[in-house]
């Protein structure tokens, strides 16, 4: 359905896409993941010709859209696009937003555009908002309208670039649910996302992008459970594990908590669990362990989330004298940590200079 051959995109001082070669089949649902700046958005924008590739070719069906003679507007009608920001027309109400393009570009009658628009609003659960204006809707609702509007053009392919990343966390679920429905209907989808649980669940194929191209292409199981190439392995490991080495008592406590929150969000860890994890770190790590450590010390804190078991585990390794944190005189801190945990264990170790190991399963 889409064939990309030797696609290259250069900007004045950077070449995000060096040589992309992939075939996308009808009905494929592809999650595009990878570090920031690796050309995920650029690839999506090249596919619908919002960017002109420097070289290489892209075929949609039998038409070469990179060919100058190609009628790109006609091709674009086959492709719906949903961005991070919703791009609705604020001076039009919701149903008018959806009706505009089908009437202008597909030549639909007002009645047909209206009937079909209402049907689409129903599928995204927003029929009762048809006569509201965009600024009267929540972010999640606006994004669902943006999806309905893309569908109104009866596209064969929908390209979504981080459709939920601008949303309040409480609204991510409703938009993801609508996208999952599209995937089930057999539309061809390409979704750039940083939400890995979603990426895995929705897709039949995952593109990991790095080094100027699709660095690894596989099923969700292959990419997430058995990545083969070096950078993919590193990226996936880093996703699942949040690790931080603390070597100063004046370390960046706020920064630590923020990163832990981001890690939680990437893995769709419930907010409550994140608070508990922060609580265990603060009470055991900061209040009980840190004051016991020597002037020069190393405290390694790692979190790992298991999606299958929905458990967040934490380990703290530190050097210096034997200190079993469960014997801390700070009973208040320990009581709070214990309340936030399923288990707190301690072991003496000899590993890379670390001598103590505390492992916690967060409640």
């Amino acid at each position: 359905m889409i064939k990309i051959n030797h696609l290259r995109k250069e900007y004045a001082n950077i070449t995000p896409l060096k040589d992309v070669n992939v075939h996308i089949h009808k009905g494929d649902v592809i999650s595009i993941i990878g570090p920031s700046g690796t050309g995920k958005s650029t690839l999506i924008r090249c596919i619908n010709m919002l960017e002109t590739p420097t070289s290489g070719s892209i075929f949609v069906g039998n038409e070469c859209i990179t060919d100058k003679k190609c009628n790109i507007n006609k091709i674009r009608q086959k492709m719906g696009m949903v961005f991070q920001s919703f791009n609705l027309f604020n001076h039009m109400n919701i149903i008018e937003n959806i009706m505009a393009a089908p009437m202008d570009l597909l030549g639909k009658s007002k009645q047909d555009a209206y009937d079909e628009g209402m049907e689409l609003l129903r599928t995204v659960g927003l029929a009762d908002k048809a006569f509201n204006y965009p600024d009267e809707l929540s972010g999640g609702q606006k994004q669902r309208v943006a999806i309905a509007r893309a569908l109104a053009m009866e596209p064969e392919i929908i390209l979504l670039d981080e459709p939920t990343s601008a949303l309040d966390p409480t609204m991510v679920g409703e938009v993801q649910a609508v996208i999952k429905d599209l995937a089930k209907k057999g539309l061809t989808l390409m979704i750039v996302t940083h939400e890995m649980h979603f990426a895995r669940e929705i897709a039949n194929r995952v593109f990991y992008m790095d080094e100027g191209g699709v660095y690894e292409d596989g099923t969700p199981e292959e990419i997430f459970d058995n990545p083969k190439r070096e950078k993919t392995i590193r990226f996936i490991k880093h996703l699942k594990v949040f690790e931080n080495l603390i070597t100063s008592k004046d370390f960046d406590f706020i920064g630590f908590n923020t990163s832990l929150e981001e890690f939680g969000r990437r893995n769709q860890v419930p907010q409550k669990t994140i608070y508990r994890a922060q609580s265990v770190f603060e009470e055991l790590g900061v209040q009980c362990i840190l004051p016991k450590l020597d002037k020069e010390f190393r405290l390694n804190v790692a979190f790992e989330y298991s999606q299958e078991e929905e458990t967040l585990s934490m380990s703290m390794k530190y050097d210096g004298e034997h200190f079993d944190v469960r014997e801390t005189p700070n009973i208040i801190s320990f009581a709070i940590a214990e309340n936030a945990s399923k288990s707190i264990e301690y072991a003496e170790i000899q590993e890379d200079g670390f001598t103590n190991l505390v492992t916690v399963k967060i409640k």
């Binding site: 406590f253 409550k272 608070y275 922060q278 603060e282 009470e283 801190s333 009581a335 709070i336 214990e338």
Partner: protein, 98 residues
């Protein structure tokens, strides 16, 4: 964290929004320190409190001790998670929680 103070005669309401932890507890301590004079009733409104750690508990305990001498202190709008912390640490017995 943000702190909002509302003085009504000798009754002071302090509303805490956000996190009360190792990083922010000193700010709350500072604000309370400046405010005790002449107060007979201190109300801590925790409606917007999302996270509480032992560092925050220490500041609350200090305030309780001061208010014991000059009047009373009441904590209100405590959510379930925060209340759990008061319970497991035994603070429920020391504080007046409404």
């Amino acid at each position: 964290m943000t702190i909002e103070k509302n003085l009504n005669g000798t009754e002071l309401t302090v509303a805490i929004v956000g996190r009360l932890d190792t990083a922010t507890a000193p700010d709350m301590e500072e604000v309370l320190k400046e405010s005790f004079e002449g107060i007979t009733k201190l109300i801590l409104d925790f409606e917007g409190l999302e996270y509480l750690s032992s560092a925050g508990l220490r500041v609350i305990l200090q305030a309780q001790k001061i208010m014991n001498k000059q009047g009373e202190m009441i904590i209100k709008n405590v959510n379930k998670t925060i209340n759990e912390i008061f319970e497991v640490t035994g603070f429920v017995d020391i504080l007046t929680i409404e």
